[in-house]
Amino acid sequence: MSELVLELDGVTKTYGEPPTEVHALRGVDLTVAAGELVAVMGPSGSGKSTLLTIAGSLEEATSGAVRVLGESLSGMSRNRRAALRRRSIGYVFQDFNLLAGLSALENVTLPLELDGTRAKAARSIGMAALETLGIADRSERFPDELSGGERQRVAIARAVVGERALLLADEPTGALDSVNGEAVMKLIRAACKRGLAGVIVTHDAQLAAWADRVVFVRDGSIVDQTSARLGPESLLATESRS
């Protein structure tokens, strides 16, 4: 069995105090292995984005355990957690979150340099990531000189660069049209095929369908998940209509 990169164990998240508290997550169990792309699908307010921020240690769970690469987040020092976020976890958000004053390449290399990689080495690792995503020729451009699709590729390059093990994406195709959105999903899928563990949260079934496994969230709980099935033509043989 492949290595488990992300493990959520009975995770709950409550905002506010009784009697007006909000239960965003009510005991979520989820594991994602290296090389696996999982989609978390649910309506607005179902808790899916909270699940992602807790998995990425951007927020703390109220109770339950979160482990990344086998290490429990709750026992970790603040510094250790920050280092884990820089080194092992990549984030892709709907609005890209690129820094406007930095070039495409600098956006990608910044987390590496913050983590102590020398500038020259960071530069070559960053260029390799941009090349994988087909935008090496845009490396010196600033975000406002890039198209929406190119900006999101830079954001993905930043998320998968270096030794990243976990890719977390919240509605990663944002406002892109379906062909550009598909290109983004292909890149995320390819990154997972190379060994990353990926989690995308979305309300969009077309987006979720890129995943190896789709889990359905409702009112803060995982209520269902897909399993691999045979193609639709296998059903035609048994198709009978009265």
């Binding site: 699908m41 309506p43 379906s178 292909k186 899928r189 309300h203 969009d204 079934a205 077309q206 979720a208 369908a209 890129w210 995943a211 789709v214 359905f216 409702r218 209520v223 269902d224 998940q225 897909t226 399993s227 691999a228 099935r229 045979l230 193609g231 639709p232 059903l235 035609l236 198709e239 209509r241 009265s242």
Partner: protein, 191 residues
């Protein structure tokens, strides 16, 4: 659309005779689906032949009462949970299934919706992965896209049903409500 399953669902609530079945069927499908009495009786005869309903043998004619059998209940349950992944656009039949399910007392509508949603998304995964693996084949990609948009529309419709049912205090379709309880409502208004 399967008239036989809709009739089975109506008989699952209570025994009824043919004319009542026709009226209820039309009321619950918002009268967009007119049935003639002949269709109803032919279908009832076939259902009886197949052991899915039974009738009172001593009665004949329009007042003959039909009730669902144990086999009929099983058949109805299987139909409600069967995914529509065939070649024909599935939405119409799915719409009828949901209208039927909303009236049935012991059905967990959210779970039924999720069962269909999951099966639709599984089919969408299959098409998406096929498209991704056949990168060079434009024709295949277009075919997959077309199926994906169609299936996505069905998933979005299910999501909408989900929200509407959640918001609605009495989860009955409007048409059925106004037809089934006109007298009681008028009395209530006078009180």
């Amino acid at each position: 659309m399967s008239v036989r399953h809709a009739l089975l669902a109506l008989l699952a609530e209570q025994p009824r005779y043919g004319l009542q079945l026709r009226q209820e069927f039309e009321a619950r499908t918002g009268e967009v689906w007119p049935l003639n009495v002949g269709q109803v009786y032919t279908t009832l005869q076939r259902l009886e032949r197949d052991g899915l309903v039974e009738s009172d043998d001593h009665e004949e004619g329009p007042q003959k009462t039909y009730r669902i059998t144990a086999d009929g209940s099983v058949e109805l349950d299987v139909w409600l949970h069967t995914p529509d992944t065939g070649v024909a656009p599935p939405r119409d039949e799915l719409v009828i299934k949901m209208l039927v399910a909303l009236r049935m007392p012991d059905i967990d509508v959210a779970a039924l919706l999720q069962s269909h949603r999951r099966q639709l998304v599984e089919t969408m995964q299959w098409y998406t992965h096929m498209k991704a693996d056949a990168d060079h084949d434009l024709g295949l990609a277009l075919l997959a896209d077309s199926e994906l948009f169609r299936l996505e529309a069905v998933v979005r419709w299910l999501d909408t049903v989900d929200s509407r049912v959640k918001q609605s205090a009495t989860p009955l379709p409007l048409a059925a409500r106004s037809v089934a309880q006109p007298t009681r409502r008028r009395q209530g208004a006078r009180r």
